[in-house]
């Protein structure tokens, strides 16, 4: 039942026939966690959109001097894509009640994500060594800001990942893990999408 149908109802009319419908119809059938994650992703979208609008606005300033793109960023991108694939693998395995697949997928996903974050730190290090300080040019500052924001969101995801791993180690069944694995997968795909947009913008500018 659509939201528009819902909010055009006239609650002051008590219609017994409709009443019964009312009672069978509760909230959405999605688990709370999924609804919560969707709402949270909206918040994250606003954060990145606003930052990207500011970025796009500044790109056209005369003083903008673009950053180089270290080749490691390509490696990092590949790592992040791989971690997303691994998460999907875990999620699919959870759908098939395959505990081994869930464990392997989660493990690979997490390790690859750690590798991505390490790679990002390495890029920072390289750029700083080359003298691309945040204070020198706003292009640099935006690069550090956006990669940091993205990295922090991944770190947050890793906390949820760590909780799933912990549950796994304590002998949790697939049923215990299914929801959290699915949530992690959605979040990983989403952060991959954000990264691809950031990386694309970086290559463009």
């Amino acid at each position: 039942m659509g939201i528009f149908h819902e909010i055009t109802k006239k609650p002051w009319l008590a219609d017994p026939a409709e009443d019964e419908g009312y009672h069978n119809q509760g909230a959405s059938f999605l688990p709370n966690g999924k609804v919560g994650l969707r709402v949270f992703l909206c918040v994250v979208t606003v954060i990145f959109t606003l930052t990207l609008i500011a970025y796009a606005d500044r790109m056209f300033f005369a003083t903008w001097s673009p950053m180089p793109e270290p080749w490691i960023l390509w490696v990092n991108t590949a790592l992040l894509i791989a971690s997303s694939v691994a998460m999907q693998w875990a999620s699919n395995s959870a759908g098939r009640d395959n505990l081994g697949g869930v464990r392997d997928g989660l493990l690979f996903g997490g390790v690859l994500t750690f590798a991505f974050l390490t790679g990002q730190l390495y890029v920072w290090q390289q750029l700083v060594d080359l003298g691309y300080y945040a204070s020198l040019n706003t292009a640099n500052a935006f690069f550090y800001l956006l990669t940091a924001l993205h990295g922090l969101h991944l770190l947050g995801g890793l906390i949820a990942w760590g909780r799933s791993m912990l549950r796994l180690r304590r002998g949790g069944s697939v049923a215990d893990l299914r929801l959290s694995v699915e949530l992690c997968t959605t979040y990983w795909h989403y952060l991959l999408l954000i990264w691809l947009i950031l990386f694309g913008l970086l290559l463009m500018s």
Partner: protein, 605 residues
């Protein structure tokens, strides 16, 4: 239909709602300190918000002392004054009003009103409070660091906010920004809870259009906040980097004291856009819950259904949507393209339409109602008057041609204090007097309440109404002292003295209010259950105050909307939302149970 026997279409079997894993505290600390019970968290939020709000109140006294009696108080320096202005604004808007309406009332009322046992993510809810407390502590700490708190004005405009020479540019501004970032993180955790709880945890039969308007207001305001706070977050983080790392997001090339600073070509206007993209919705983040609470209290205390419920819901939603496209009306004097100004003036005038609708509907709810002039009702009527005044001056300021001469005068101060200072605070008082019996099982003292009401209402009107005239004659805002100015008549100084005296009197009334609360918790007149004869679920709990898990063994089943007051042909003048149709006592039929007919008088407007 025979007595007590109903066919299946009329009686719905008890709710088969999946029981949630309710968190059960094991020790004193997990029960009262690190609690995951939304009601305890609500009280923690409220207490913290009110305490920091009292700091904001004292700051306003200091400001008024300086404005009313310049050259009298040697302990208030110009730097102090700017710090008072800044901290007062920030504390009141964010740390008091936002936290109290959403963290306080949201936490207490949402689960109870929608018929849930608790929030859907209780652990996150607990963390939310502690992060908020951390934000408050960081903010308070900024008073005690070298250079003191930030004195940049509550809007924190760069470049001056972080330039040397502005009070608090050393540590104050850093702590302010860090505190805001924490506040936003904490709020997001709470906000997810409020939204998902309303969407997912409603009791059986509680459709969206049967929700009390309080829940609609808090729900919509939370969505607004979740989408608007990121703008402040991004702006805050960028400014923090500008200050700490010397980046140039907002900092243009600046020559200070003959010396070129390291910044280059940043855009201060970008901050203004980010700030007001948050800042304008913030007005409605505070106002929408207030609208909801007023609707419910007026309906309950006038024993009449709310006029135009559907219209009220739609108005709340459309106000929320529109509030995202009006932000630049705060920036008319920033040198914008006139077409841009035209656009924002138009959207600003449009948002007045749903807002005015709500005002008419409140008045029409009172019309021919059985009005009980209880203290909550008095505060709500006062709210309508104050909000009307503040709303109309908003139309003045929304027009570019009128705004430009009035910009940065006391007229603006008077306007926004009327509309988002006094008005929501009056609603908070109404809500506290209304729900105090639910939280404690006791009434607040009526006599002291009346004293508090009349002094607060009349006093704050006398503070802010004359202030518009100060603005008309050109008294600028944010000035430490005006001194002798050719265009400002000496009578402005007399008016300033009067306002300051009123501020102190109103302040005294708040002390009485706090004492009333503290004493009534222990010695107030016992209220019994549902003392206002309200229909909403929070009053239908097994015990008053509601216990852990809110409801008894079974969650309530909802049969009707929240405004079944004075239904024709029914004995009692209210029908609780969860009273089964076969238990309604019809008047004149000696208590025989009769199924509920569509009440004729409640047909659409």
């Amino acid at each position: 239909m025979s007595n007590g026997v109903l066919d299946e279409t009329q009686v719905i079997p008890p709710a088969e709602v999946e029981e949630v894993d309710l968190y059960h505290a094991k020790s004193f600390i997990t029960k009262w300190v690190f609690s995951q019970d939304a009601k305890i968290i609500a009280i923690q939020y409220s207490t913290t918000a009110i305490l920091i709000g009292l700091v904001g109140l004292v700051l306003s006294w200091m400001m008024r002392l300086q404005l009313g009696f310049p050259d009298t108080f040697s302990f208030i320096s110009p730097e102090d004054y700017y710090q008072f202005v800044t901290m007062h604004g920030m504390i009141m808007v964010i740390y008091l009003l936002t936290a109290l309406f959403l963290g306080g009332f949201g936490n207490y009322l949402i689960p109870l009103m929608v018929g849930a046992r608790d929030m859907v993510f209780p652990y996150l809810n607990m963390i939310s409070y502690w992060v908020y407390l951390l934000a408050v502590i960081i903010l308070t700490a900024s008073f005690f660091v070298p250079g003191g708190a930030s004195g940049a004005g509550w809007t924190l405009y760069p470049p001056q906010a972080i330039l040397e020479g502005t009070p608090g540019s050393q540590w104050g501004i850093i702590l302010m920004l860090v505190s805001l970032v924490f506040f936003i993180i904490g709020f997001t955790m709470g906000g997810l809870n409020y939204v998902v709880t309303v969407l997912q945890a409603r009791a059986r039969g509680m459709t969206l259009m049967r929700l009390p308007l309080t829940v609609w207001g808090i729900f919509t305001a939370t969505i607004l906040a979740l989408l608007a706070f990121p703008a402040l977050f991004v702006g805050g983080v960028m400014m923090l980097l500008d200050r700490v790392l010397g980046t140039s997001f907002f900092m243009p090339e600046i020559i200070q004291a003959g010396e070129l600073l390291g910044h280059d070509s940043g855009s201060p206007l970008l901050f203004q856009h980010l700030f007001w993209f948050f800042g304008h919705p913030e007005v409605y983040i505070v106002a929408l819950p207030a609208f909801g609470v007023v609707s419910d209290i007026i309906s309950t205390h006038a024993r009449k259904n709310i006029f135009g419920y559907r219209m009220m819901v739609w108005a709340i939603v459309s106000i929320a949507g529109l509030s995202f496209v009006v932000w630049a009306h705060h920036m008319y004097v920033s040198g914008m393209n006139p077409y841009f100004g035209f656009f924002f003036a138009t959207t600003t005038l449009i948002i007045a339409v749903p807002t005015a609708l709500k005002l008419y509907n409140w008045v029409l709810t009172l019309w021919k109602g059985n009005i009980h002039l209880s203290i909550p009702m008095l505060f709500c009527i006062a709210f309508i008057l104050v909000f009307l005044n503040g709303g109309i001056t908003g139309l003045f300021l929304g027009n570019v041609a009128v705004d430009i001469p009035l910009s940065d005068t006391m007229f603006v101060v008077a306007h926004f204090h009327m509309v988002m200072g006094i008005a929501p605070v009056l609603v908070i008082f109404a809500a506290i007097y209304h729900w105090f019996p639910l939280m404690t099982g006791r009434f607040l003292h009526e006599g002291w309440g009346l004293f508090h009401f009349w002094i607060t209402f009349l006093g704050s009107y006398l503070i802010y109404f004359p202030m518009h005239y100060l603005g008309f004659v050109g008294v600028p805002r944010r000035y430490y002292e005006i001194g002798e100015t050719s265009f400002i008549p000496p009578s402005a100084a007399t008016l300033n003295e009067f306002i300051t005296i009123m501020v102190l009197i109103v302040g005294f009334a708040q002390v009485v209010f706090i004492l009333n609360i503290l004493i009534s918790i222990f010695k107030g007149k016992p209220s019994g259950e549902n003392p206002w004869d309200a229909t909403t679920l929070e009053w239908q709990t097994e015990t008053t105050p509601p216990g852990h898990g809110n409801f008894g063994d079974e969650l309530p089943v909802v049969y009707r909307w929240a405004y079944a007051y004075s239904v024709p042909g029914v004995e009692a003048d209210f029908v609780p939302q969860n009273l089964p149709p076969d238990q309604i006592k019809r008047s004149g039929s000696s208590g025989e149970a009769v199924a509920e007919d569509p009440p004729e008088l409640h047909k659409p407007e």
